[in-house]
């Protein structure tokens, strides 16, 4: 029977919603193949996030709350995950497919001599083992794969797994004993560039408004894309073209080489729809495309397409939505 360890993710103590998708994966596996799952959260001053994790039927919420774990440094985090996975006799270690998990989990997997599959979008139990589907080639190929070994590591795409249902009781909290003196210290945290306050992260938001080449400068981007996102309470995103031309920062880029998003509503404003970009947003529920070029490939995936000049349409749309 599977014994799953989900690695939770947070941003300075604020739980990332993608964690719930990884727990949803664990819940699904346990429902179909039996077994149980634990959630491990690492950091400092993380009791509020740990509290949120208790509501979903995990066997226990394991909390490694230490000053030395304040920042998610791969050497320290992988060391703790290694120890906890051994102590819990885990058979599957799972995280959301984010830069956090991609940095830390392969390192922990190698410490445990375990194989790993990235970007899982489907799981099927089969004869005491599992068959997984994952995406490759920038989202252009879906592979069905098996992974040998008693312990497997996975990252799962959050769009593919719904959060688990709320459980009646609260999972018990179990503190994890970490010998801080034995943690590796090859990597040292220096700082993080301040995030633009007030708007949600595009990987977490229900609505994402993204701008492309049609936006001529940073001020127009903020006024039109930022403005529309604010009206809808959504996040902003950007095509690679705008990042390359310096109009938007790297952290906004949606696409295979940027963020993979799957909101309820994605509004592509003046984005032509390069394969690269679409690999990052095509799991969205409803796609709206606004573009001057009626032949733009984005219209082939859009649920609703509106042909026209974004400089005229977006202000009109904002005015209409504010009514």
């Amino acid at each position: 029977m599977p014994k799953i360890l989900v690695i939770a993710e947070h941003d300075d103590g604020q739980l990332k919603l993608a964690t719930l998708s990884a727990m949803g994966f664990a819940h699904k596996v346990c429902a179909e193949a039996g077994g149980a799952y634990d959630v491990l959260i690492l950091g400092e001053s993380i009791s509020a996030a740990a509290e949120l994790l208790r509501g979903y039927g995990a066997a226990s919420v394991l909390v490694a709350d230490y000053a030395a774990l304040k920042e998610p440094l791969a050497d320290k985090y992988a060391h703790v995950i290694d120890e906890v996975a051994r102590a819990q006799n885990a058979t599957l270690v799972v995280g959301a497919a984010s830069t956090f998990s991609k940095d830390v989990l392969p390192r922990a997997a190698a410490l445990l001599d375990a194989g790993m599959i990235s970007d899982v979008i489907e799981v099927r139990p089969e004869g005491g083992d599992f068959i997984f589907k994952r995406v490759m080639f920038a989202g252009n190929v879906i592979a069905t794969v098996k992974l040998a070994g008693a312990l497997k590591f996975l990252t799962v795409r959050s769009a593919a797994f719904a959060p688990p249902p709320k459980a009646a009781g609260a999972s018990p909290i179990t503190p994890v004993a970490v010998d801080a003196g034995k943690l590796p210290s090859q990597i040292e945290y220096v700082g993080r560039e301040a995030k633009v306050a007030g708007r949600p992260d595009s990987t977490e938001a229900r609505v994402v408004v993204s701008g492309g080449r049609a936006l001529k400068n940073a001020a127009d981007f903020e006024r039109l894309i930022g403005g529309l996102a604010d009206v809808l309470g959504g996040a902003v995103g950007s095509s690679r073209a705008l990042v390359d031309s310096g109009i938007t920062p790297n952290s906004l880029q949606v696409g295979q080489t940027g963020k993979i998003v799957a909101p309820d509503l994605y509004i592509a404003v003046g984005i032509s729809g390069a394969i690269q970009h679409m690999a990052g947003m095509k799991d969205t529920k409803v796609i709206v495309a606004i573009n001057k070029d009626p032949e733009a490939p984005i219209f082939e995936v859009a649920d609703y397409g509106l042909v026209g000049d974004v400089y005229q349409i977006v202000p009109e749309l904002m005015a209409r939505l504010k009514k």
Partner: protein
Amino acid sequence: MKILVPLKRVPDPDTKIRLKPDGASVDWDGVKFAINPFDAIALEEALRIEESQGEIDIVVVSIGGEECIEQLRAGLAMGADRALLIRSETDLDPLAIARIFVAIYHREKPGFVLMGKQAIDDDSNQVGQMLAALLGLGQATFVSRLELLDHNRRARCGRETDAGIETVTVKLPAIITTDLRLNEPRYVSLPGIMKAKKKPLEEIAVADLGVKVTSRTRVLSLEPPPRRKAGVRVKTVDELVDKLKNEAKVI
């Protein structure tokens, strides 16, 4: 100082990947191959370090069949000093690849390893982190800014994370994996190609490295992703808002 730069042979990023009708393999017919773009960025960064410091020995290494010589020669033409081809005819998963790199690391003893964050065919994004773990070294992944400090004893790295750019310092030797915006790789020049022909390219069989590797990942089948159905065109903003409110019910 020596910098080890792994180069993976992958389909050219502008190629459309098609599957064979058997549903189990990619149709490689007519596909052009290239150095994995993230690895080319790693090599470019190594070359820039050489240009600013001098006295840097850049060794590029590929694992695979003799077709990989094409990419190694391209790496030498960009400016690498020496190439290694680790001959292996089987498909290997990231942990197996990382184990081979462990042996190469011990053989070459580089000041650090600079490599792409992921290969654009398999998209796993695992090998660098696994290699760091197996060697007990530090790592800095998804690096878009790199600065060597203290006479190459430490590196200050800007990492592209979901929350924005995070800066860390890591003790060297370490494994540093590159992200897209670290630099723009140079084009290969004709003199570069001529020079590359005279540079050493050594072939070693995996078995001769003293590592036994097996791949635990087995691909059962491949399929194209489901196609999104094309939607409808709306004519006005009012019609769009009406559809989003009353039909899609997302606002």
